[in-house]
């Protein structure tokens, strides 16, 4: 991959190009500060600097103490972490074979498979939710097929933690496949043929040649989907159980129904710190990548 087109945008003349480049970058940087960094700081300050019982503002960990001592809030957090981790594992198991197939297959069929695996990208999650109820819900299409084959009904995943889990995995397949596929582009045919020539089997090929080259992509793909799943709202809202809730619906309910912005923001800050941990993986791998260049 060449960097030439990107440097062309800035202009070939260095003296004129630099301020223009900074100007182009200024907008996103300002936006990030205004719409992301500032709200984060403001949220953290709001939750820590609160009015005490004496009416004076002061440093207080009250809302955090409540969250971490409230079994209901904690069970919501555990559910969110469980869904996120299980979904990430399933995504990897499902998407890696698809990506490997798409990388090495040369047939026409491969392009159809690619189209199909990208398809969920174009389905809004609210539509997905109601389609899910009709297909996997009780007496849905899946039950009807099972019934036609004289098989027993399944216990529907609708309104259990598996509901949003299945929906979220389906929703995140395209992004994961695309990122893995991009990573697999770095594996050259020559290195694979060389390994084959010295007698490497498929398993060894995957383990010693392919995986080491795409470790970074796997990390990036996982951190992207983890960030998306952790903060998911629509699918857990429509498909998930009433309790425990995932953090997205829980925050919204605390804010809108209980008129309790302090606790809602506290939940948001806690979610944010979990996401930051995953985000650091991504940033680290990007930095490592750039240093390698």
């Amino acid at each position: 991959m060449s960097l030439a087109p990107a440097s062309d945008i800035v202009g070939t003349q260095k003296s004129r190009g630099r301020p223009l480049g900074l100007l182009l970058v200024a907008l996103p940087v300002l936006l990030v500060f205004w719409m992301v960094i500032f709200p984060i700081i403001s949220a953290v300050v709001t939750t820590l600097w609160q009015k005490g019982s004496d009416g004076q503002y002061g440093l207080s960990l009250r809302t955090y103490q409540f969250f971490f001592s409230d079994p209901y809030s904690l069970s919501n957090l555990w559910l969110t972490l469980w869904v996120t981790i299980v979904a990430a594992i399933i995504l990897l198991v499902v998407c890696l074979p698809i990506a490997l197939y798409l990388r090495f297959a040369k047939s026409r069929l491969a392009s159809y498979v690619q189209g199909l695996s990208i398809f969920p990208l174009f389905v809004p999650s609210i539509i997905l939710s109601f389609a899910f109820i009709r297909v996997l819900g009780p007496n849905g299409a899946f039950d009807i097929i099972l019934n036609a084959l004289h098989l027993p009904k399944i216990r529907t995943p609708y309104l259990t933690p598996w509901g949003p889990l299945i929906g979220l995995v389906w929703d995140h397949i395209p992004l994961t496949v695309l990122i893995l596929l991009a990573g697999l582009g770095a594996v050259s045919d020559a290195s694979i043929e060389a390994a084959r020539d010295v007698g490497a089997g498929r398993g060894r090929l995957l383990w010693h040649i392919i995986l080491p080259r795409i470790g970074n992509s796997i990390l990036v793909a996982l951190s992207f989907s983890v960030l998306g799943i952790f903060s998911a709202f629509t699918l857990p809202y429509v498909l998930g159980p009433a309790a425990p809730e995932m953090m997205g619906p829980f925050m919204q309910r605390t804010f809108r129904d209980l008129y309790d912005p302090d606790n809602a923001i506290t939940q948001a800050v806690i979610s944010f710190f979990f996401c930051i941990a995953f985000g650091l993986f991504y940033v680290r791998s990007v930095v490592k990548n750039q240093r390698a260049r």
């Binding site: 209901y72 819900g137 007496n139 309104l159 159980p241 009433a242 309790a243 008129y259």
Partner: protein
């Protein structure tokens, strides 16, 4: 003109129109109408009330504006309240789906018309169940009912009291589901009915201003205990849908036999074929599920106040009140004696003798959160 030039001039013109200082005044003979209700109500006004009223009053128009939700409507009302202080034009004449006690201070400052003093020709016909403060006036109501599948449960065997309902749910495990109380009124109505049941079936114990964490918490807990007892017999051993529509979907898929549902929503679902013809509705006779009447308010400082009052009187006519039942699937704001006899007889089974209304504010808040913490968590749903 080249397309590019056209685009440039067109966008410049649009930008100019937006940027010009906007000076709007309420027009004479144009009733500025705002609502907090859903699209089906706006459609009802657009297609039925507006043409009829404008035909009956030549030269008068109704300007229908969707204020989106009650927070949106209150923002417009707050503007009227501010205009009252400065004697300026509020540009609003009629609020549908409103509440005279809001925004705070509106009642004290006399923002709204007192209908008992306005000599409405239909005022005496109003359903006494809808009685409230005279600044609130209604024209339609809705209540939560039980909707059920008559192919699985014959209509004559449908439960008529809370005790029958509980017995039926326990005898038919997995055939009943209600939605989370904060996600839709039908589930909220069911939960509120359980709380009434546990407190001597006396809705008068629950008033907007009398919630206390101690006594209120106990009253609610008794209701939650009834619901916890029911949970293992619900669909999937205690699943709760996330809205009115999802419950109706499960009923239409035949996944459950009975759900609590809004009267207007289920009647229109049956009419549209979303629910099959074999769906029947029943109300409990010992104490109905809560519901309510939609309130309208008219600000005293609207330019078209007299016309707005005329409009309120107009929508209480038999013609519109019958349309509320047939077109909207709602309940009339007037007593059932003042709608056509055919309709009266057709809906006889559903005519409520009382429509309890659960208080908003602290009670609802405690009810919703308490339900999530006490009823919703299932220790073991795998059995």
């Amino acid at each position: 003109m080249k397309r590019r030039d056209f685009m440039i001039s067109a966008s410049a013109a649009t930008a100019g129109a937006v940027l010009l200082p906007k000076m709007a005044f309420a027009a004479a003979n144009r009733i500025d109408w705002y609502t907090s209700s859903d699209q089906n109500i706006i459609d009802f006004w657009t297609n039925i009330i507006k043409p009829k009223f404008e035909a009956a009053n030549p030269g008068v128009t109704i300007n229908l504006v969707d204020a989106s939700d009650s927070a949106g409507l209150q923002a417009i009302e707050a503007r009227s309240l501010a205009a009252l202080g400065t004697n300026s034009d509020p540009q609003a004449d009629f609020f549908e789906g409103s509440e005279a006690r809001l925004p705070a201070g509106a009642l004290d400052k006399g923002l709204y018309v007192d209908f008992s003093k306005e000599n409405l020709s239909n005022y005496s016909k109003l359903n006494p169940l809808a009685n409230d403060i005279p600044q609130n006036i209604t024209y339609r109501g809705s209540q939560v009912l039980l909707a059920f599948d008559t192919t699985k449960l014959p209509a004559d065997k449908a439960p008529k009291t809370w005790a029958d309902l509980v017995a039926w749910i326990k005898a038919n495990p997995g055939q009943f589901i209600y939605n989370r109380p904060d996600k839709g009124g039908s589930g909220a109505g069911f939960v509120q009915r359980a709380v009434y049941e546990a407190n001597g079936k006396d809705p008068s114990k629950f008033k907007v201003e009398n919630y206390t964490a101690d006594a209120g918490g106990k009253a609610l807990q008794a209701g939650f205990d009834l619901l916890k007892d029911l949970a293992p017999s619900l669909m999937d051993q205690g699943a709760y849908t996330s809205g009115n529509t999802q419950s109706i979907q499960l009923l239409s898929q035949g996944a459950v036999t009975m759900i609590p549902a809004w009267s207007d929503q289920s009647l229109s679902a049956i009419k549209q074929g979303v629910l099959p013809d074999t769906t029947a509705l029943v109300q409990l006779s010992d104490l109905g599920f809560p519901g309510g009447f939609t309130r309208n308010n008219i600000p005293v400082n609207g330019v078209n106040k007299a016309l707005a009052i005329k409009l309120q009187d107009f929508i209480l006519n038999e013609d519109i009140q019958s349309a509320v039942i047939t077109e909207l699937g709602g309940f009339p704001g007037v007593s059932w004696d003042y709608v056509s006899k055919d309709l009266h007889d057709k809906y006889a089974a559903l005519i409520p003798t009382s429509i309890p209304v659960f208080p908003a504010g602290d009670w609802s808040k405690a009810l919703n959160d308490g339900w999530y913490r006490n009823v919703a968590p299932n220790v073991d749903r795998s059995k």
